[in-house]
Amino acid sequence: MARMKFLCDAERCTECNSCVTACKNENEVPWGINRRRVVTINDGMPGERSISVACMHCSDAPCMAVCPVDCFYQTDDGVVLHDKDLCIGCGYCFYACPFGAPQFPSTGVFGSKGKMDKCTFCNGGPEEDHSHAEEQKYGSNRIAEGKLPICAEMCSSKALLAGDGDEVANIFRERGTYRGSGAGAWGWGTAYNKKSI
């Protein structure tokens, strides 16, 4: 059984926001909802690093534990999904989630924040696969078609990886061994016009 994982390679991500755009387009994500976002540390300075963040589909997910109406469930692939018909928009999942993944249509001051929306690993929701209702509420269901999330597929530098945890780890490990790191990385000397230290 696969255990789905995302991994963003901080040494590769160029903050091009392709993943964000692809996700928005594939899932028709409304304005103001960030299912995926790219955050940059030390923007414009030496040592800048970007990482693409979304729901990480935690094994022991805090959102699942905290939800007062118990509307989350985890698929056999380890993808964390939720039922928008049950959600009351209390926002607790957002306060508990380590990655700020849950998003809300209304940031209004009073009452419910509306139905929570978050990354589904392109795996839809509790409705029947590829039904109109599923598409309206949760966006596409690529997993049901045997495909992986669109964000990783569209990543221009292949920094963002998605798929079975073991495979993702293997790819990343192999990459790491090839390229080295820091000033020992291949091409460092050329890039900085210096002999590799």
Partner: protein, 333 residues
């Protein structure tokens, strides 16, 4: 790739990696090098080090990721620049703990109060009813009291539905029906909250002047508040009632303050941590007030002749003599 090639690559790259590492671990020398590279005055030499770019990217970078600080991003929304919500899990665990304590304290308090009622029964008036009535509360004071009480009970019930419904009501009602109830509870809580706060403040203003320490109050406490038969002199409010007033005063203001902050989310960015804190303050103070309320209701029910003070505003003269002798003497004069 066959396994021989894999091992070969691994071996060669391990060798290369350790060679590179050995060359770069010397941090001060490396920083000197960087100083050469980035001579522009605008760029602080600290930047590469802060980024964790000391040859072996990693620890510092990931520490920054974990720090909960906000960095740059193209996204627009609440806390979008923050990688990791640094205190979310602390909040959740603390909330769980308070829930656990609640589950023990609230039933325990209920049982205690009921046991006391069963054992001691009603506290009868010394000389029975005299049928002479004394005014104890004005109409406006009763409106304020019941406004506070009713909105408090609604808030307590709806709050507890949100807090414990998942464990007790979902097995009974099923998820769909409970979701409807939870949504209704949340809306009610959000609407009644501000109403409660208005009554609370009115009550504080109305009753505060009779709730400061008055001469002799300590005797009331020392003789056990009259629980053991003998009545003790007291002013309009005895020390027990005064303590309850000040609990309502402080805890009530905590509840109101934290409640309003939670209501007005979406106004401040970086709100997440504030709300996590306020939620804890809110639940903890709500617990205290619910516990105190049990005692308060017990007093109204167990002391014969008390209830009419808040239903008609008048009490029997003998009740006044028994429980609030100093106050009674005062208004007679």
């Amino acid at each position: 790739m066959n396994s021989f090639a894999r091992i070969f690559i691994l071996f060669v790259s391990l060798f290369g990696y350790s060679y590179a590492a050995e060359k770069t671990v010397d941090a001060p020398a490396y920083t000197q090098n960087l100083k050469h590279l980035y001579t522009s005055e605008n760029i602080s030499i600290k930047a590469p080090i802060e980024a964790g770019y000391s040859g072996v990217p990693g620890s510092k970078l990931w520490r920054n990721v974990r720090s909960g600080k906000s960095y740059s991003t193209q996204a627009i929304g609440d806390d979008v620049g923050v990688f990791i919500n640094a205190y979310g899990e602390d909040w959740r665990l603390l909330k769980n703990q308070i829930e656990g304590v609640n589950l023990i304290l609230i039933p325990l308090a209920l049982i205690t109060v009921m046991l006391i009622y069963l054992i001691f029964g009603k506290f009868k008036l010394n000389k029975g009813f005299s049928d002479k009535l004394v005014e104890r509360f004005k109409f406006i004071e009763m409106v304020i009291h019941w406004g506070t009480a009713i909105s408090f009970i609604i808030l307590g019930l709806t709050g507890l539905v949100l807090l414990f419904g998942r464990f007790f009501l979902i097995p009974l009602l099923g998820k769909e029906a409970f979701a409807t109830l939870a949504e209704f509870s949340m809306d009610m809580h959000d609407i009644v909250g501000p109403i409660f706060s208005v009554f609370l403040i009115a009550m504080i203003v109305k009753f505060i002047k009779d709730n400061f320490y008055q001469k002799g109050d300590i005797n009331w406490l020392l003789s056990g508040g009259g629980l053991f038969g003998k009545h003790v002199d007291a002013w309009r409010f005895n020390l027990g009632e005064k303590i309850w007033f000040w609990i309502v005063f402080f805890v009530g203001l905590f509840i109101t303050f934290s409640g309003y902050i939670m209501l007005f989310t979406g106004i401040v960015s970086g709100q997440r941590e504030v709300i996590e804190l306020m939620n804890i303050v809110h639940i903890a103070s709500a617990t205290l007030m619910i516990l105190g309320m049990f005692g308060h209701i017990y007093m109204g029910v167990a002391l014969e002749g008390s209830m009419s003070a808040m239903t008609t505003g008048k009490v029997d003269e003998n009740w006044a003599k028994d429980h609030h002798s100093l106050w009674h003497k005062n208004i007679k004069e």
